[in-house]
């Protein structure tokens, strides 16, 4: 059998140009398929990692997915705000261990700004329960003295190249409108967070009071004409938050989650929604799943096209190799050897294509991975194929073998008809 394999190798090498092109097609198809799968599982992991330590998310009445996206992933905006009084009432619930108020809406160079409390940096968990760590500096103080202090995520620090004590300016909203910067109240970076692979990396953190301060002379999303309150003067105002966007809740005991959720959903003073992050994520994946499956199906089709090309190339070359097959039969090869030879050839090309595809994916992860992570928060790190990817690779190989048996079968019938004397 090893002899046969060696002959198959030599024969394939002899036709390396056509087979090489075929392998290249299979490689690209494999890269596409695995890339889609990796992006898919990467997105799920990143999302799940971002909510790993949170038991409930509470906000004004909205759909669970909307609330989840806005509060954890800074995508879109919540339908409405909730009052500080409601926040305090829920935080005081006996089952609640800790709670973090969130206030968002502003941005810095496209990065979302999150108003919260210093406890955020101690309470927030990502991945398998990992706490946030400072790469440099400290958390903002949350006092009036430290009103204009900011902490930035790794991505915010990395891309525009911010360092400690740099001064940054917040923009109202997503920063898409001109003259809507809070340029009169610049912030000083006092802390830079370690990379987490979650939306935290792309976030600028300030205190709740700071959010109030930069909006003192604003009303209804626009600056009041002719009103200007200098940064220092702002401290004299009442900066206690009146309304926040949402809150993250940690429970003393997870078993109480449904009870607290009911408490929030039945809240009298205003219409609120409490979301179990896992349930909301499942709901999100159900919505996104259709697109995912479509993308995966298209990739699978591309792989099928590549493998059909393999079968076609080997089949087309078969006629010119009838003499070769007859020689092998004359020295004792049986029809099953002929089938094995052709099947081995196709399988080798498939394997070579898959290996090249994996290399290509690794190269892509090395070169494009950081950019994709920066822009979409999607970690596409260099890694060995994971469970789902092995299944896909197995499927590609199995299909490749099937595609190789086709020319093998053709060669079988040819060699039965030709015997030792092919009529050429």
């Amino acid at each position: 059998m090893t002899a046969l394999l060696r002959i198959a190798l030599r024969s394939a090498w002899n036709r390396r140009l056509t087979l090489g092109l075929t392998a290249a097609a299979i490689a690209l198809a494999t890269t596409l398929l695995l890339g889609v799968e990796r992006a898919r599982s990467g997105a799920r992991e990143a999302f799940a990692s971002s909510v790993s330590g949170t038991d409930l998310i509470v906000g004004a009445r909205a759909s669970p997915v909307q609330l989840l996206l806005a509060s954890v992933f800074r995508v879109g905006e919540p339908a409405a705000e909730m009052s500080w009084r409601s926040y305090e009432a829920i935080a005081a619930h006996p089952a609640v261990a800790w709670s973090l108020p969130l206030s968002f809406g502003d941005s810095h160079r496209g990065f979302p700004v999150l108003g919260t409390v210093p406890a955020y940096f101690e309470r927030y968990r990502h991945g398998a329960g990992t706490a946030l760590r400072m790469k440099a500096g400290r958390a903002f103080s949350g006092t009036l003295d430290g009103l204009y202090e900011a902490v930035v995520g790794a991505e915010v620090a990395g891309r525009p190249g911010h360092r400690l004590n740099d001064s940054i300016v917040l923009a109202h909203g997503g920063g898409e409108f001109a003259h809507s910067e809070h340029s009169d109240k610049p912030f000083r970076i006092v802390g830079i967070l370690e990379r987490t692979g979650t939306p935290v990396d792309r976030t600028v953190f300030v205190s709740l009071a700071a959010v109030e301060a930069v909006h003192l002379e604003w009303a209804g999303g626009a600056p009041l004409p002719g009103v200007s309150i200098p940064a220092e003067f702002a401290r004299k105002f009442d900066l206690a938050p009146k309304r926040i966007s949402a809150m993250l809740v940690g429970l003393k005991n997870r078993a109480a989650a449904l009870r607290v959720q009911r408490f929030v959903n039945d809240f009298r003073a205003e219409a609120l929604t409490a979301v179990l992050p896992g349930v909301a994520l499942d709901e999100l994946w159900q919505v996104v799943g259709v697109a995912e499956r479509t993308l995966l199906a298209v990739s699978a089709l591309v792989v099928a096209v590549g493998l059909a090309g393999l079968a076609a190339v080997v089949l087309a070359g078969l006629d010119a190799r009838r003499r070769e097959l007859a020689i092998l039969r004359s020295v004792g090869a049986g029809p099953r050897h002929i089938v094995a030879l052709l099947a081995a050839e196709g399988t080798m090309v498939t394997l070579a294509g898959m290996a090249a595809g994996l290399l290509l994916l690794a190269a892509g992860a090395l070169t494009l991975g950081p950019q994709i992570e920066a822009r979409y928060g999607l970690a596409l790190a260099l890694q060995a194929p994971a469970g789902g990817e092995w299944r896909l690779l197995g499927a590609v190989l199995a299909t490749g073998i099937v595609a190789s048996v086709l020319p093998g079968w053709r060669a079988y019938s040819l060699s039965l008809a030709d015997g030792l004397t092919p009529r050429l």
């Binding site: 070769e324 020689i327 092998l328 004359s330 015997g419």
Partner: protein, 257 residues
């Protein structure tokens, strides 16, 4: 399954029987009342009452194209099976062997030289000759225990066939037709098979080379005590052989295949 078991049993007997081929087996090939027809045809294209090739014998089989030569060769090789009659190769009734046992019998005991394109173009001369040992452990053992001994045997055969040792590492495609045919003879003879079948091996050579090739072929077959069945349409070559048989005489079927 039954057939395969029988085939394997017969195969186990084969080496022992062939080991003392010169003493024990009188006929290398023997056909009696053999008939063959292609599936679609009404009348048989081959019908041979009797034909035999004795051990170590050299026979010139004369036949024009279309006389059933190719069919006969494929039958003896065990690639085709006769519709009726008895076809024995080294005392083995081919029809009673399984397909893989027939492949094994061919690998172990028969060397082939064809008209042209005998070699696999992308393999070296050495590898082409060694190809004959790939499917036959028996011939591999006879050619020499280790790979070094086999390489030495290839070198010896090539040298005695008047081929420059430097050619061994060349690919077959780089050789002249005459050289290719001699490499094919080396492949047919390595591991000392009992039977060599040559199908028009000289028709692609010019007259001078034909003469030299015939002498080498006969000499080497003699040295290996191999029976030689030489098939050709060229009657001038018959003078090299003790016995000459015409396809037209043994094939009772109407000509044309």
């Amino acid at each position: 399954m039954d057939q395969r078991v029988r085939g394997a049993a017969s195969l186990n007997r084969a080496p022992a029987a062939a080991g003392d081929a010169a003493a024990g087996i009188a006929q290398a090939i023997e056909l009696s009342a053999v008939r063959f027809r292609w599936r679609a045809q009404r009348s048989p294209c081959l019908s041979i009452a009797h034909f035999a090739l004795a051990s170590g014998e050299r026979v010139f089989l004369h036949g024009e194209s279309g006389s059933g030569k190719s069919t006969l060769l494929n039958l003896i090789a065990g690639v085709l099976l006769p519709e009726a009659g008895s076809l024995r190769v080294l005392d083995q009734e081919l029809a009673r062997l399984s397909g893989s046992a027939r492949d094994r019998l061919r690998a172990d005991h028969i060397g082939f030289v064809f008209q042209q394109f005998n070699l696999i173009p992308y393999l070296s001369v050495m590898e082409n000759v060694l190809l004959a040992l790939r499917f036959s452990p028996r011939r591999a053992a006879r050619a020499g225990g280790g790979s070094r001994a086999r390489a030495a045997e290839v070198a010896r055969l090539l040298a005695s066939l008047d081929l420059d040792p430097a050619l061994q590492t060349r690919t077959a495609a780089e050789l002249s037709v005459g050289q290719q045919q001699r490499v094919a003879v080396a492949r047919a003879l390595i591991g000392s098979p009992e039977i060599v079948i040559a199908d028009e091996p000289t028709s692609s050579l010019d007259a001078v080379r034909q003469q030299a090739f015939m002498e080498l072929l006969l000499e080497e077959c003699g040295r290996a005590h191999a029976a030689l069945l030489f098939v050709s349409h060229d009657l001038r070559l018959a003078r090299h052989f003790g016995r000459c048989v015409a396809m037209a005489d043994i094939n009772l079927a109407e000509a044309g295949s």
